[in-house]
Each structure stands twice: as structure tokens, then as C-alpha cells.
Symmetry: C2
Subunit: 104 residues, 2 copies
């Protein structure tokens, strides 16, 4: 089973999100803390909704792949406080977290 | 540039979503209609939110990768009506569409 942990940052007007910090410092920090349990990390930047030029629902998304929900929880739990604290360095958006199973 | 078109089905109580139909018929139909322009298609099923056992924000997600927004629009536009019509066969949820740039 492939489990994907998605962190979705809603596109709220006037909000702050430093993509450079997120890509160069926050995500590498997560990868270092998660270690080999995190199989892959992917960052995406919202372009638009379905209609060209319309605002995207999410400004940014981070996706982290694990072998199971338990593997994610075990990798995340010891570092939750440090991860949360670093978030203030790049955003004031409260993200939505979703855990999904990759079907294909 | 890698462009990802995400179709997100919100987890609405009492709504209908036939994952079997989506995976076995709808997504293969999309791939057939999009042709080589669609580099990859991935389906995900929501497990939970951040807290184990909490409901996921999205019941299902489909992700379709293209080389550019233009490549997606050109592949999608001629088939929009047929794609929309087939949606009724597996869901009554109105999905959120987001186009994103894959950064890493």
C-alpha cells in the first residue's frame, strides 16, 4: 500500500506563503526528520482553477509518501512540535491535512 | 514544466461515489480521450484527516499530468461534454478542479 500525506494550503487572500523557504528549508527538514520512512516528497504550486486565470483553491501543496499510516505516524509524532514551529517561518495559513491511499 | 490537473471530490455525507467505476471506466476513458498528452493518471482514495479516524476532506482525487496548461486544455476541450456526462455514472459530487505546477 502507498499512503500519501497531503498538506494543502488554502489560497486565502492576503495570506503569506514563502515558496522558497518551503522548498529549500521546510521540506528538506521534514525529509531529514522522517528519514527513510518518507519514500518521496513532492511540492506543488497552484496555478488556477478549471477556468484559465481563475484563482486556485490551494496556493501550495506538499505530498509525502509512506508505506502505511502507521509508518507516517511513527515518523511524524516525535517531531510534530518542531515541524509546527517551523511553519510560522513560511506561512500564516492553517493547512488542511489529508491522508489518502494511492490506488493506481 | 510538469502541470498537474487535480480533480478533488469533497467528502459530503450521503453523497455517492463509485470508486470501482471511476478506476475501471472513467479514468481509462479520460486516458483514451487525452491520448499521449496525458503523461500519467493517478487515483487516490481518502483515508482520514490528520487525526486517525477523522473523516478525510476529499473522498477521492484524480490527478492528470500534462506538459503545459495549453496541452491539457487542447486535450480536454473537445471531450468536455462526454467527460461531464460520464460523471453522473459514478458520482453526484461536484468536484473541485485545480491546476498546479509540480515544483519537485
Amino acid at each position: 500500500m502507498i499512503v500519501k500525506v497531503s498538506v494543502l494550503y488554502p489560497n486565502i487572500e492576503g495570506s503569506r506563503f514563502n515558496m522558497d523557504y518551503y522548498c529549500k528549508l521546510h521540506v528538506p527538514m521534514l525529509q531529514q526528520k522522517f528519514g527513510a520512512a518518507c519514500r518521496q516528497a513532492i511540492v506543488e504550486q497552484g496555478i488556477s482553477g478549471a477556468v484559465p486565470g481563475s484563482p486556485p483553491t490551494y496556493l501550495a501543496m506538499g505530498h509525502f509518501y509512506f508505506d502505511s499510516v502507521e509508518a507516517f505516524q511513527a515518523a511524524y509524532r516525535p517531531h510534530a512540535a518542531a515541524i509546527m514551529a517551523d511553519m510560522l517561518n513560511y506561512t500564516d495559513i492553517e493547512p488542511i491535512m489529508q491522508i489518502s491511499q494511492v490506488k493506481s
